[in-house]
């Protein structure tokens, strides 16, 4: 019974939150669509028009071709950032590791911009390959930052953040340089990276989905390895983990999911930091639960942040990265203060 209590309830809590976040996110906008109508429209889509249509026809267009794809993109971006944040934290045994703070997101951004600035095709095939360029940027960055930050066998908090900031600044500068040299059309295509406002329509969703599903699937199964790594690499090995293989594998997969998120939604900070932290505080440090729950909660968190971003200055939409930074930076400082005495960690 305790097992049911321990494993079922957090799953249901997070699933319900996620559903609520999706409905709210899709309902709110320039035109408010009541959640009831929204559910009827969804049902109508699923059952192929068997329901009596009692809503304006343009609601369907707004939802199906603008808001829903946007919400799904936010959902998978938030999930990807939260899960890879949790994985980096476990890998570096450092509570402040976050794809944004350790520079991986900037590295992925550089990869994506570098690819786009060499006359990238603007069709669906082109979309599918952007994550690969971003992935290469992300992996190079994470390897550089890890090696810069490593002191002996440990990755201390301070050096990790310093290395992340330095490498992040460097890659951001390169990104700006590439953008200044590009022509107007490409500039438009890549301006999302600065503001963190995502691409529109179903194409980016379709392009991102396969990478994200595979990446998150693998990360969900890395929980036990991450648990072992919390006891240090020596003990993990003595307990039977092939440490080097596991580390390389997790770094590659976490960087892949980060890269996909950045390639289609821009650089969004702090989701990967806040979400796993809250989950860890509420449901404990077991990565076998932490990663799947972070996937669900990360989606909810970014959907809510996106809702706020579109609502605060409506009809003008803020870049969602501003909202996550406004909420995340104080949270970061709070973690920094308590990191030394932390039992959750």
């Amino acid at each position: 019974m305790t097992i049911v209590k321990k494993t079922l309830s957090p799953l249901w809590v997070n699933l319900s939150l996620l559903l609520l976040a999706i409905v709210l996110n899709v309902a709110v906008g320039a035109v408010f669509i009541p959640p009831g109508t929204l559910l009827k429209i969804f049902a109508n889509e699923v059952f192929a028009g068997e329901l009596l249509v009692d809503w304006p026809a343009h609601f369907e267009t707004i939802i199906m071709s603008i808001r829903l794809p946007h919400a799904v993109l936010m959902l998978i971006t938030g999930s990807a950032l939260a899960a890879s944040g949790a994985a980096y934290q476990g890998l570096f045994r450092n509570p402040l590791a976050d794809p944004y703070l350790i520079g991986v997101a900037s590295g992925a951004g550089l990869g994506a911009v570098a690819a786009l600035s060499i006359q990238w095709p603007q069709d669906l095939a082109g979309y599918y390959y952007i994550p690969i360029a971003a992935f290469i940027g992300a992996v190079i960055t994470v390897v550089v930052v890890y090696n810069l930050a490593k002191v002996g066998k440990m990755v201390p908090l301070t050096t990790l953040i310093l290395a992340g900031v330095a490498v992040g600044a460097f890659t951001s500068a390169l990104t700006s340089f590439l953008m200044l040299r590009s022509n107007e059309q490409i500039l438009r295509a890549i301006s999302f990276l600065l503001g963190g406002s995502p691409m529109a329509g179903w194409n980016p969703v379709l392009a991102a989905l396969p990478y994200v599903v595979i990446g998150l699937g693998i990360l969900s199964f890395s929980g036990h390895a991450l648990n072992l790594l919390q006891f240090g690499e020596d003990q993990a090995k003595q307990l039977g983990l092939s440490v080097e293989k596991a580390k390389a594998f997790i770094i590659i997969v976490a960087s892949l999911t980060t890269a996909v998120a950045v390639a289609f939604s821009g650089v969004i900070g702090f989701i990967g930091l806040i979400v796993p932290h809250i989950i860890r505080m509420v449901w404990g440090p077991d990565y076998r639960k932490l990663i799947p729950l972070s996937i669900l909660a990360g989606g909810s968190a970014l959907l809510i942040a996106d809702l706020i971003a579109r609502w605060v200055l409506a009809p003008q939409a803020l870049p969602v990265g501003i909202v996550t930074a406004l909420a995340g930076a104080p949270f970061f400082l709070w973690i920094l203060r308590r990191a030394k005495s932390e039992v959750f960690w």
Partner: protein, 230 residues
């Protein structure tokens, strides 16, 4: 079997080498004809368990979760424990007298309790070989004898081969059957404790004057410092 020697003699290095953490080791470490160093970590972890010196790692996990990680090499790749795993974990907690701590976090425990939990985790690995790296460091008198008599008892009952690096020579004398004396990375002596724990060998190895007397009850050698007091 106890592994003794002065600071820097290479006790911890030897333990780390045997457990496969150092990859610069030459030679081989065989158990029943299998070279342990050539095995994958998961196969080695079914033969050899280690109680490490370093503590306070993984402090957020509960005692039960920590001991369950000892079952890693016996679980599937998802790390999902089965019925048998649960049983062995609870038996290990029982043996090390840590059942009452099962739901506590590692970071909240005292040094002695953490040491017993690490021993429980090694027992959960269910291996024929057990290495311990200075398990009595930082422990008080009571916990020292508790943990050593526990290891001695388990070694006898479960037919374990135990190698333990340890500083306290009198504990060695009481609890271990055989002793290895390591000096500057080389084996200086190996044998029964009364043959190794002699005035001559120990004074020479530790570069200090000592005196060996006999324990009034157990008739084993007891080592005392023998320096002139000014």
């Amino acid at each position: 079997m106890a592994l003794i020697g002065p600071n820097g003699a290479g006790k911890t290095t030897l333990i780390r080498g045997i457990s496969g953490i150092l990859d610069c080791i030459k030679g081989s470490i065989t158990y029943e004809g299998v070279d342990l160093l050539k095995l994958a970590p998961i196969d080695r972890a079914r033969i050899l368990a280690v109680v490490p010196q370093s503590r306070a790692l993984g402090g957020a996990f509960t005692v039960e979760q920590t001991v369950m990680m000892g079952r890693t090499a016996h679980m599937n790749w998802l790390g999902k424990p089965g019925e048998g795993d649960e049983e062995i974990v609870w038996a290990s907690l029982e043996k090390t007298n840590t059942t009452g701590l099962a739901d506590r976090r590692i970071a909240e425990l005292s040094g002695g309790e953490q040491q017993r939990v690490l021993l429980a985790r090694a027992l959960a690995q269910d291996t024929p070989l057990l290495l311990l790296d200075e398990p009595t460091n930082h422990l008080d008198l009571k916990h020292r004898s508790t943990i050593l008599s526990l290891v001695a008892k388990l070694a006898k009952e479960n037919n374990l081969a135990v190698l333990m690096a340890i500083h306290d020579l009198n504990l060695v004398s009481i609890y271990s059957e055989r002793v290895v004396l390591l000096v500057d990375g080389k084996v200086k002596a190996l044998g029964k404790s009364e043959d190794v724990l002699t005035t001559e060998l120990i004074s020479d190895a530790y570069q200090t004057q000592i005196k060996v007397i006999s324990h009034p009850d157990y008739r084993v050698p007891i080592i005392l410092p023998d320096q002139e007091l000014d």
